[in-house]
């Protein structure tokens, strides 16, 4: 029994190292000189012989071709607006699907189920085409708008609203509330756990989104988000890769999501439950 327990810990610690060590190494290497990184790839402190600790990597983050502050701003704007839009529209649609009766509802729900199964890569070309036709290519609107509409978000909110009792709606109606007031003042606050779960999932998904910005702003580096800017970074450097700068860029991309993650960890439960439903 004891042997098994020790063995269990050995396995767990081994994997914890595999998952944590790369991040630590990235953090340290962001503040090393390039020759130091080259000479001591695994060392967790800066070698004074190669110049010791340095802010060279950080300084490289805002140049003509590397525009991390601008991309950070773009990522923030896109994530905030698209998340708010997604949560708002998905709540309304989810509420209607869960609690209202209207012709065509079954068809709409069927559409959601079909769309859930369609992989994003299949839609690249026509999405580009539609953005072009609508004049949204290389604009903020084109970068944000398609991310607002998400079948899974509607599905998730429908699940949450279905669990609220109908009596609340009837009681609100007796008190003279309009349909909009019933939704916004009574039902929406009660669906708060769902709203928070959806918000966090959306923030994470939209912040990390790569495929959509790639086709939405192909000719506008000033509109790139962090993942898009980072992915094209290596190409702009050619042979000599300034790893301290590149790694500092990955850190800056990771930190905001890490903060959201550690702050709202417990709310992700609903996400786990939702994946079960989705499957």
């Amino acid at each position: 029994m004891e042997v098994r327990k020790v063995l269990g810990y050995v396995v767990l610690i081994f994997f914890a190292l595999i998952f944590i060590f790369p991040f630590v190494l990235v953090l340290v290497s962001s503040f090393k000189t390039l020759p130091d990184i080259q000479a001591n790839p695994v060392q967790l402190w800066a070698d004074p012989e190669y110049g010791g600790w340095t802010l060279d990597g950080i300084r490289g983050l805002n140049t003509e071709s590397v525009r991390i502050p601008r991309w950070f701003l773009n990522s923030t704007v896109v994530t905030v607006i698209a998340t708010l839009g997604r949560v708002f529209l998905a709540s309304m649609a989810g509420y209607a699907l869960a609690k209202m009766s209207y012709p065509g509802k079954q068809i709409l729900f069927g559409l959601i189920i079909v769309l859930l199964a369609v992989p994003g890569v299949v839609l690249l070309i026509p999405k580009f085409l539609i953005l072009k036709q609508l004049g949204l290519l290389n604009t903020y609107a084109g970068l944000i708008l398609p991310l607002v509409f998400d079948a899974f978000a509607i599905f998730l909110m429908k699940q949450f609203f279905e669990q609220l009792p109908d009596e609340l709606i009837e009681a609100a109606a007796i008190d003279g509330a309009s349909a909009w007031q019933t939704f916004s003042r009574v039902m929406l606050p009660l669906a708060a756990p769902g709203l928070i779960a959806l918000t966090i999932l959306s923030v994470q998904g939209i912040w990390n989104e790569f495929l959509h910005p790639l086709i939405a702003v192909p000719g506008a580096p000033e509109l790139a988000t962090l993942p898009l800017g980072l992915a094209n970074l290596r190409a702009s450097f050619g042979q000599a890769q300034p790893w301290n700068t590149i790694l500092a860029g990955t850190l800056i991309t990771t930190i905001p999501i890490a903060i959201v993650f550690f702050t709202f960890q417990r709310y992700f439960v609903q996400g786990v439950a939702a994946t079960g439903v989705k499957g």
Partner: protein, 372 residues
């Protein structure tokens, strides 16, 4: 979740560590949202106009940016369209694009065949590896006498919420010639992401088989020689396999953990009382009870791995020597770099078929084992 963006499933399942995560094994597990009884009904009478008013904004967007694009993909795949002009001004060519991709000798068919070969090996390695490791970690973590559960769960899950591009850059850094991996591993330093040698090819070299039989080089299928088909993933692809496995283990571990926690303790205790050893209990009780979760994880794993894109783009654009080319990347490359958008659309449709087929097979399998 997408494994990757949206349903693109590098981040297939949005999930996070919480000990008291509800069971997700049952298909209908509802998300808990308060102390109310579940009620399904449509109580708002006379609200049919309102229903449309509430649903219209979201569904209009879905129609424009998701539903219509699916139809458009199918439509342009039947036309002679480069992507540079309006597709409405192009000619209908029937299944010519598909014919070129599947039956005509040439670079297009060869590229598609190579991309399928590469992605097949990628799936073959990633899905079993991520499923097995995630399952083992979940089983160990499910031990109630264990200390530091929260720490381990969080550290395993953290890579899953990190940007796929950021993780790819980190791996490029770790696996470069003068990088940490080469410094830690014994033997000569190699440039992982630049190495096109097949793993099986290398393994055969180790046991002395350097030259493949002539017939395997001179003959082939879809423009790719038999030797290339069986050479295995390239070293570069293997590095991508490791990186994706590393990223996705945490998500699947959480799903397994939720499944394990839904098994009542009494079931396993009863087995022990009946004289079963720990291993027997695990093999004959825990695993059968976990079957639905395992199939769920394998399914979303399959769906996600056939769409691998971000990591391909951020490493070598399909190189070295096309050994990391995948159908998803080929769709993008043909359409946006090669100006053969109709061909790209045809590849996208074929990819959709493969993914739908994987899903279908898995669903069938789940059903038949569920009935047993």
């Amino acid at each position: 979740m997408t494994t990757g963006s949206g349903g693109r499933v590098d981040d297939p399942a949005p999930a996070v560590p919480v000990a008291e995560a509800p069971p997700i094994v049952s298909e209908a597990a509802p998300a808990a949202a308060g102390p109310f009884k579940v009620r399904r009904g449509t109580p708002l009478k006379g609200a049919s106009g309102l229903g449309w008013l509430f649903s219209a904004p979201a569904f209009t967007g879905l129609l424009v940016f998701v539903a219509i694009p699916i139809v458009l993909t199918a439509w342009v795949s039947l036309r002679d369209w480069s992507g540079l002009v309006s597709p409405f001004a192009t000619e209908y060519v029937g299944f010519e694009n598909y014919n070129e991709l599947l039956f005509e000798d040439g670079v297009r068919r060869t590229d598609l065949a190579i991309s399928i070969r590469n992605n097949f090996y990628y799936v073959l390695f990633v899905v079993p590896m991520q499923t097995a490791i995630a399952f083992v970690l979940a089983v160990i973590l499910n031990n109630k006498f264990l200390k530091g559960k929260g720490f381990f769960r969080t550290s395993y899950y953290f890579p899953s919420i990190t940007s796929s591009i950021a993780v790819t850059l980190i791996f490029l850094f770790l696996f470069q010639t003068s990088g940490a991996i080469n410094a830690i591993l014994p033997g000569e330093s190699i440039n992982w992401f630049d190495n096109a040698n097949g793993l099986f090819h290398n393994a055969l070299g180790v046991i002395g088989i350097e030259d493949p039989p002539v017939w395997m080089i001179e003959n082939g299928f879809m423009g790719v020689t038999y030797w290339q088909w069986i050479a295995g993933p390239s070293v570069a692809m293997f590095a991508i396999i490791l990186l994706v496995t590393w990223t996705s283990i945490g998500t699947f571990m959480l799903i397994f953990l939720a499944g394990l926690q839904s098994i009542p303790e009494s079931v396993e205790e009863a087995a022990k009382v009946d004289g079963a050893s720990t291993f027997q209990t695990f093999w004959h009780v825990t695993i059968p009870l976990m079957k639905p979760t395992i199939f769920f994880v394998v399914t979303i794993g399959l769906i996600a791995t056939w769409q691998v894109f971000d990591q391909i783009y951020a490493t070598n654009f399909g190189g070295p020597q096309k050994t990391t080319l995948t159908p998803a990347f080929l769709t993008y490359f043909q359409s946006f770099t090669n100006s053969e958008a109709a061909l790209g659309a045809a590849i996208a449709m074929l990819l959709l078929l493969v993914i739908m087929f994987s899903t279908f097979l898995q669903r069938r399998f789940i059903k038949s084992t569920g009935e047993r």
